[in-house]
């Protein structure tokens, strides 16, 4: 932050933070074995009792390599907004890392912007005039590939989480929206994969974009059917 820390002695100017050596192979093996035991996606709706709807997701990365992501989503609203008249509801999405801060603020805001744009297209905003819908994402844990924290890895989970929370809140959506990620690209679909509502490609080649979109679509089908299955099983 802009305010420099003047209370502590920060050491010499060329001081560097300590770095830990990578884990040795043995401990890694046990780790993966333990993770292999619970491979399935865990979904639980309605954990946050004071919200209008919420979802809790535990997923592994869709490439099949294990990095569990724990995400809690809560939806507040539609609630009345003060001030000027709006014929459509206004949507805000906020993202927070609960346990560790791995992403710079700017990147998170970019992520929120992206998600807001997706759900602006999916929620029936015209059905809720003069109101606001607020969505809060809490990332409890995320372990990226090789210790890196990539936004591509958590984006599909975020989208799935918000969709489930919206369903739990009973807010009208046009369709179940979900996403798939492949090769650093995240594509979010609706309407049985016919429509794209979000495209995010931060790195990699553009040549095979069409093929990437197809791969993402496969995962979209998978994610969507998992969500629908869960919702059908747990319907009240």
């Amino acid at each position: 932050m802009s305010v420099s820390d003047r209370r502590r002695i920060l050491g010499p100017t060329n001081a560097r933070p300590i770095q830990f050596a990578p884990l040795n192979e043995d401990s890694k093996k046990i780790d993966t074995e333990r993770k292999n035991l619970n491979k399935s996606v865990f979904i639980e709706n309605g954990l946050v009792s004071n919200s209008n709807g919420s979802s809790y997701l535990e997923t592994r990365d869709s490439n099949g390599i294990e990095y569990p992501t724990l995400l809690l989503t809560s939806v507040y609203g539609p609630r009345p907004t003060r001030g000027s008249f709006n014929s459509k509801a206004s949507l805000t999405i906020q993202f927070k890392e609960v346990t560790a801060e791995n992403f710079p603020t700017g990147e998170l805001k970019e992520l929120c912007n992206f998600l807001t744009n997706i759900f602006n297209a999916v929620i029936n905003l015209a059905g809720y005039p003069k109101s606001g819908i607020d969505i809060f994402l809490n990332l409890i844990q995320h372990e990226g590939p090789s210790g890196e924290y990539s936004r591509e890895a958590i984006l599909p989970t975020c989208i799935n989480g918000i969709t489930l929370a919206l369903v739990d809140a009973g807010i009208e959506i046009f369709d179940m929206v979900s996403a798939g990620s492949y090769n650093g690209t995240v594509v979010s679909f609706t309407k049985n994969g016919e429509e794209i509502v979000g495209l995010w490609k931060d790195t990699g080649d553009v040549e095979d974009l069409v093929e990437t979109i197809e791969k993402c679509k496969e995962q979209y089908y998978q994610n969507r059917s998992t969500m629908i299955k869960y919702l059908m099983q747990n319907k009240k």
Partner: protein, 263 residues
């Protein structure tokens, strides 16, 4: 200007016609005229000012500082200030984040390295005086012009200082041109089945969705992402839109680069 529901419906219909009828008479792949000035701030190493025909204006300053890159390996800082928006608003921060990411990805730190210990760190300050449509593309043009007119002091001391503690020494007045390949960002609006480049503010208001496409090193690069141009007309789009967008950018971008290089 705020459009009424009827005006929006009319505009949407004409923009989604084949071929699209844009209010200012442009073709789908046509940009609005811009005015570009460079090198008007003597206290900065490079500067540019870009004015779009609707009065959107953006000023970019590039300042360089010598830093010890063994301690501080961040070689680029992009700071965005948009008049009328708070510095910590989602809009400003996400534009800053996109620009930082794309510039650090594409520019090479090697070009800024002076000695084995010291290198230049670039501070790119963006000031958007006024903007009516999404300013990302305009900012990227301004950054392109500013970085391509940046001159840095010429090093005259030795470039191997790992063993001898020596501060880099510069020539009194000789400057060297910064040699970088700067990426460009293009925004397109998706309306109906049409793809419109460089959407004006009224076109952005009715667009179904927006896409940002990066152009670097003579080809389409990353990031490519959807971007919200408005809050209440957002809809999904087909993969054919993406194909059309990429084709359009491939056709337009070399001409834009040529025009920007001609300054």
């Amino acid at each position: 200007m705020v459009l009424s529901v009827t005006e929006k419906a009319y505009l949407y219909e004409s923009l989604s016609a084949v071929p699209p009828l844009r209010p200012d008479g442009r073709a789908a792949h046509q940009f609005r005229p811009v005015e570009l000035f460079t090198d008007f701030l003597p206290t900065s190493n490079g500067s540019s000012k870009i004015v779009a025909s609707d009065g959107s204006e953006c000023i970019v300053s590039v300042k360089a500082k010598v830093v010890d890159h063994t301690v501080d390996n961040e070689f680029l800082v992009v700071d965005v200030d948009i008049a009328g928006h708070r510095d910590d608003s989602q809009f400003v921060l996400s534009i800053g984040s996109i620009l930082t990411k794309v510039l650090t990805q594409q520019l090479e730190q090697r070009g800024l390295q002076l000695t084995r210990k010291y290198s230049f760190k670039l501070f790119i300050d963006v000031l958007v005086l006024s903007s009516y449509s999404h300013p990302l593309s305009l900012i990227s043009f301004a950054i392109y012009a500013a970085l391509n007119s940046t001159y840095l002091p010429k090093l005259i001391s030795s470039d191997d200082d790992l063993d001898v503690a020596e501060l880099p020494l510069f020539h009194d007045y000789d400057l060297e041109k910064l040699d970088v390949r700067v990426p460009l960002l293009f925004t397109v609006a998706l309306v109906g089945n049409n793809v419109l480049i460089d959407p004006a503010s009224n076109e952005s208001d009715v667009a179904n969705n927006g896409l940002v496409v990066t152009w670097s090193n003579g080809k389409i690069g990353t990031p490519i992402m959807t971007i919200g141009l408005n809050d209440d007309n957002v809809k999904g789009f087909g993969s054919s839109h993406i194909r059309t967008t990429l084709e359009m950018i491939e056709k337009c971008a070399p001409q834009v680069v040529k025009a920007l290089d001609g300054i």
